[in-house]
Structure formats: C-alpha cells, structure tokens
Point group: C2
Chain length 236, copies 2
C-alpha cells in the first residue's frame, strides 16, 4: 500500500509548529469548545501555545482559508459565524459531492473498509448512549468521521480535503443553529447506507445519503441568531 510513501512525506514535512497550532484550534472549534464569534487574538493564541505572534498569525490565516475563522482587517480573527445562507450553501455542497464520493468509494471499497466502517458505527452508537459533554463531543466527531472515511476510501485526496472542510464547517453550523440536543447525525442512517453499499444497491445508497444530509439540515433552525454586528444586519 501507500503507507511507505505517506510516511516518507510525513517525515519530510514534519508538521511545522504553525500546523500543529492550527490543528489544535480546528479540533477545538469542531468539538465546539470554541463558540462561533469568539475572538482569537494573535497575542492570546501565541501565549496559549507559547509561540510568537508570527506563528499564531500563520495558524489563524490557515484556518481562515478553511472557512473556520474569519479574519477582519485591523480587527482580528474570530471563530466563524456562518450566516444561514452560508449554512445552506454548505449543505447544498455536501448534497452535490457526497453521492459522487459515495459512488467512487463503493467502487473501491474492500471488506476491510466495510468492517472498519461498521466498527466506527458501533463506537458512535456507544457514545450516543453515554452522558456528558465529552461523550457528546466525541459523538460529533465520530459522526463526521463516517463521512470523512468514505471520502478517504474514494481514493481522491482532493475530494477528501474538500470534505474535511465541509464537515468541519457543518459542525460549526450545527453548533449555531442545531435544535435537537440529541445527535447531530441520524445514527441509524449511517448504518443503512453501509448495508446498501454491502448489497451493491448503489442508487439506493446515494438516495439514503441525500436524505441523510437533508435530514441533518432539516433539524436546523436557520434563523439569524444573535446580532454578530450591525454590519451583517444591513448586508442582507
């Protein structure tokens, strides 16, 4: 397999410090430890990770390219506060790409992949029944990982990166507009998709995926929340 190449490349690039900080902050955002709109000052970030503003700034810039933080000139960086319209676009994008990814993945999937996905599902179910914030966070992550794993199986690194961005931003949207305190993702729907793939019912799997994404979106209340600044109030 390609583990050799990957290891080589990893050893080579060696995750520069700024990337580590970026990953930490991203994880915090996706797991909802950081709320949308929170200010991320360069100094604070730098102090928090014991680096200079230079690296903090680089990390924040990187996150802004992923749409997870928005940097405003001369004002600073903030955890992104996606507008309802942005939220709709995110889910529209997922509806657009995920069936295609699913098809590619189904064409390349191995029995090993399937059992791995099932195990992921089990883990997800276990977390759902647990109580507590940490379990909730882990559940959020796990439910996203299902979609990410599918993208990985598809073998297209570009689509995989794009999906990572979409899933991360989806988590932000759900944090903002989600109502059902319960699971963000219909857990059972993931299972149905897997069995559809197993049975080679590709069209049905795609249908299920579409419904699944729409289902997540339906559980949102896409009304303008808070007033993240008068600016936005007049933009729309």
């Amino acid at each position: 397999m390609k583990s050799a190449a990957k290891a080589m490349q990893a050893e080579d690039s060696a995750e520069t410090s700024a990337q580590l900080i970026r990953d930490s902050i991203r994880e915090a955002i996706v797991e909802r430890r950081l709320s949308p709109g929170t200010k991320l000052s360069e100094k604070d970030v730098g102090n928090l990770f014991s680096v200079s503003r230079t690296l903090a700034r680089a990390a924040l810039q990187a996150l802004s390219y992923e749409g997870l933080v928005s940097v405003e000139k001369n004002r600073g960086a903030f955890v992104a506060y996606p507008s309802p319209d942005e939220a709709r676009q995110i889910f529209a994008a997922r509806r657009l790409v995920e069936p295609g990814i699913l098809r590619e993945a189904a064409a390349r999937i191995t029995p090993g992949d399937i059992s791995q996905l099932k195990q992921l599902l089990l883990e997800e179910g276990r977390l759902m029944s647990e109580r507590g914030q940490t379990a909730r966070r882990a559940e959020i992550k796990a439910s996203g990982d299902f979609h990410l794993r599918l993208a990985e199986i598809s073998g297209n690194a570009i689509m995989q990166r794009f999906m990572e961005e979409l899933v991360a931003r989806s988590s932000l949207v759900i944090a903002l507009y989600g109502q059902s305190t319960a699971s963000s993702c219909g857990h059972s729907e993931h299972g149905e998709i897997i069995t559809a793939i197993e049975n080679n019912e590709l069209d049905r799997a795609c249908q299920l995926m579409l419904h699944h994404i729409t289902h997540i979106e339906t559980d949102l209340d896409l009304r303008e929340r808070k007033s993240l600044g008068l600016k936005e109030a007049f933009e729309l």
Copy 2:
C-alpha cells in the same frame, strides 16, 4: 442585486497586500508565465513586490493551500508540479462536481447570464484564431472562465471557490502534460453545453460536460515528466 453588500465587504476587507501578491502569482501560474517546479524563494518574491519576507511568505502559504505551490520545509516554495496521479484526481473531482454545478446553475440561470456566457464564448473563439503567446494565455484564461462563470451562476460561493481551485490546478496540469499545442478546451463543446441549457436539455448538458472534461483529460500524456528530484522517483 448584491453589489451593495459586496462593495461594503470589499471596502471592509480591502484586499490586504499579501492577498494582492498571492493573486499576482496565481495569475502568473495559471497563465503559464511561471512553469511548474520553478523555485519561488521568499526573498525573491519579496524583492519583486517590494515587501518584506513576511508578506511574501504569507502569499506563498496561501498559494500552497490552493495547491498551486508546494512548500518544502527548510527548502522553499516551488510552483506545484502535479504528479500524474494528482492530475487524474483533479479531473475526477471535476467530473464529480461539475455536472451538479451545471444543474444548479441551469435552475437559476437568467437570459442575461446566457448572453454573457455566449459573449465569453465569442471572445474565446476570437482568441483561438489569433497567434502569439499573449493570445494563447488569454485563451487559456477564457476557457477556464467558462467553467468558473457557471459555478458563479450556481449561486454557491463554496462550490465556486472549489471550482476556482480546480480550474487553476487544471491549468497547471495542462501546462505539464498537455500535448495538443492547440486549445486546452474544446471550444465547440462549451457552445454545445450552452445550447443544451437553453433548450432545457439538462441531462444532455451534463453528459456533454462530462465528455468535455474527459476530452480535456484524454488530450494529456500522463507520463512522469522530467525528474523533479529522485525523491519522487522512489515515492511511487
């Protein structure tokens, strides 16, 4: 229309210097004034734009997130040199998303959009018949703009940005592996797609789009070129 909101936001963000540099370099890459593999040292870039290494570095970082330059730790930044496999993934991604974008665009397209697209086509045709490097460059840009304009019409900013990345990287791939010295994009195919949209033959338009993308890819010779370092020779 939304020009007011856009102007407001533009006035607000005001394109920081690093972004201007990034845009300049990206344009140079897409128009093939910069060849894949060319070294972009921070000092040189800084001198060229009369800024410090700080800003040059930021611009190069940004371009690396778009996949147009690759930065190697402690070695520097280079214009990306996509591998054949990467090239295939880029076109696979386009086949995956462009039909969907086309559908969205067709649902929202206005007569004004259509005439604008046709005008773009005319311009493209005019450039095709011209000689000279500058005409060739303009043609490359115009043929990409067709796809970009479609994404813009679709009204999904996220997909639009993704398409911008894909089109830019496609240009790099064609620069590397393209054989037909002639047009990168079958010009006539763009026209057929538009007429299909006009006639509400949506399925046919998508089919044409898929063939079009595949046609571009077919005109490539996806064999390893040059030897961008023995490193890569052993990675695969």
